[in-house]
């Protein structure tokens, strides 16, 4: 089929046509389109079968065969479309040692060689085949990426340090809170305690010791630096009170009635407390005035084992320190 025959055929752009079209100066297509003198126009209903039957004829006759019909029949015969295309293709595929065939084979060989080389190249090396500007771009990108990663690493490092110091300060706060809890546990009587101190035993051989005397005794102990005080089985704290019972003897301490002998276990500086209790007109003197007797025993280690539970404050709420 030629392009002039069918006006409805979409005309390809001219640039696409210059490859095989002969120049207009009349150079005869000496072999590219041999005239079809073998196939009459009506023939060729089954061009594909012909293709399959004709191909096996090919072997052997390639180079040595003389180009018998590579003669100049100037005008390519226009053939009907149906058989023409396949026929032309088959005819072109038929091995003949014409100049065109050999030339095409050489060019095709070059192309195949180049394709393989290029494919191999593409597979083998990725960076070495790139041109300089691409390499610069890649390098740029890599550098930018590295910068970004470095920044991210720095940020993460900073975060890590913050978390570290945060946990450090949290640990410190926890330690301080623990210490404070221990101190306040002892002061409020929540925790048992031990340490150097004195044990004072008050007896009532000739009378009864008044609640006020016992309260003064406790105040004297506090004044002389007592840190934890236990009276019999009662832990004495800042909120402890002494009341004379409505009837009978003894004394009511924090709601519990205690009887003589009163046994004080006090943690603190033993010498200071013993001296303080013993001063003239002091605590022990008052006890004696009430008809009691007291003995002070200094010990390197005494144990205040009694505890009391501290009710949670109902009205008071803690105020966080500012800053």
């Amino acid at each position: 089929m030629s392009m002039a025959v069918n006006p409805f055929e979409p005309t390809p752009p001219d640039v696409a046509r210059d490859d095989g079209a002969p120049p207009d100066d009349g150079a005869p297509p000496d072999d590219g389109a041999p005239p079809d003198d073998a196939a009459p126009p009506g023939d060729g209903a089954l061009p594909e079968e012909r293709a399959t039957t004709e191909e096996p004829v090919a072997p052997g006759a390639e180079i040595d065969v003389e180009p018998t019909h590579a003669v100049s029949q100037d005008v390519p015969v226009q053939r009907p479309e149906q058989p023409g295309a396949w026929h032309t293709l088959v005819r072109a595929l038929r091995p003949r040692a014409t100049r065109a065939q050999v030339l095409t084979a050489v060019l095709c060989g070059l192309l195949g060689f180049a394709v393989v080389a290029q494919v191999r190249l593409t597979h083998d090396t990725s960076l070495s085949t790139l041109r300089q500007s691409d390499l610069v771009g890649i390098l740029d990108q890599a550098t930018r990426q590295a910068d970004e990663l470095q920044r991210e690493a720095a940020t993460l490092e900073q975060t890590r340090q913050e978390l570290d110091s945060g946990s450090n300060s949290r640990q410190a706060a926890l330690d301080a809170a623990t210490r404070s809890a221990a101190t306040q546990g002892i002061l409020t009587g929540r925790l048992p305690a031990e340490g150097p101190g004195i044990i004072v035993t008050l007896t009532e051989p000739d009378g009864s010791i008044r609640a006020l005397t016992l309260l003064n005794f406790l105040e004297e102990l506090r004044n002389s630096g007592a840190e934890a005080v236990q009276l019999n089985d009662q832990r004495l704290t800042a909120s402890s009170y002494f009341v004379a019972p409505a009837e009978g003897d003894g004394v009511v301490v924090d709601g519990t009635t205690l009887h003589a002998p009163y046994r004080w276990i006090v943690i603190g500086d033993a010498d200071v407390m013993a001296t303080a209790l013993d001063i003239p007109g002091g605590a022990l003197a008052s006890v004696r005035n009430d008809g009691g007797r007291g003995s002070v025993l200094r010990k390197p280690l005494v144990s205040v084992t009694a505890t009391r539970s501290v009710p949670a404050p109902v009205n008071a709420t803690p105020v966080l320190p500012k800053g």
């Binding site: 089929m1 030629s2 392009m3 055929e9 390809p12 752009p13 696409a16 210059d18 490859d19 095989g20 079209a21 002969p22 150079a27 297509p29 000496d30 072999d31 590219g32 389109a33 090919a58 390639e62 390519p76 226009q78 479309e81 023409g84 295309a85 032309t88 293709l89 072109a92 595929l93 038929r94 091995p95 003949r96 040692a97 014409t98 100049r99 065109a100 065939q101 050999v102 030339l103 095409t104 084979a105 050489v106 060019l107 095709c108 060989g109 070059l110 192309l111 195949g112 060689f113 180049a114 394709v115 393989v116 080389a117 290029q118 191999r120 190249l121 593409t122 070495s128 085949t129 041109r131």
Partner: protein, 110 residues
């Protein structure tokens, strides 16, 4: 047939010899290959059009390759090598497609 044989021989030779492409040619080889493919399709179409001419085919094959490589080289010198090679590939691709369409119309009438 000889053309197909030549193609096969070229591929086999490429596989056997494992050619190393010179560094200076490396940017141009892919473009040249695409240009050669374009020429090949153009030749096939001309064959089906009945206007095949081996001289024209040879010249167009070589000139296609050279011109394509030249364009890319020029683009490299001008600093627009990658863009220009993309453009060349696009143009050649369009040509290959239109040629393939013409071949298809010839062979399948569709």
């Amino acid at each position: 047939m000889i053309a197909v044989l030549g193609l096969v021989i070229g591929v086999v030779a490429g596989l056997l010899f494992e050619p190393t492409v010179p560094v200076s040619l490396q940017p141009y080889l892919p473009i040249a290959v695409v240009a050669a493919l374009d020429a090949l399709f153009g030749g096939l179409r001309a064959l089906l059009d009945g206007i095949f001419d081996d001289r024209v085919f040879l010249v167009s094959f070589l000139s296609n390759v050279v011109v394509a490589a030249l364009i890319v080289f020029l683009g490299d010198q001008l600093g627009v090598g990658s863009q220009l090679s993309t453009g060349v590939v696009v143009v050649l691709g369009i040509r290959i497609f239109s040629n393939a369409a013409a071949i298809r119309r010839h062979l399948f009438k569709a």
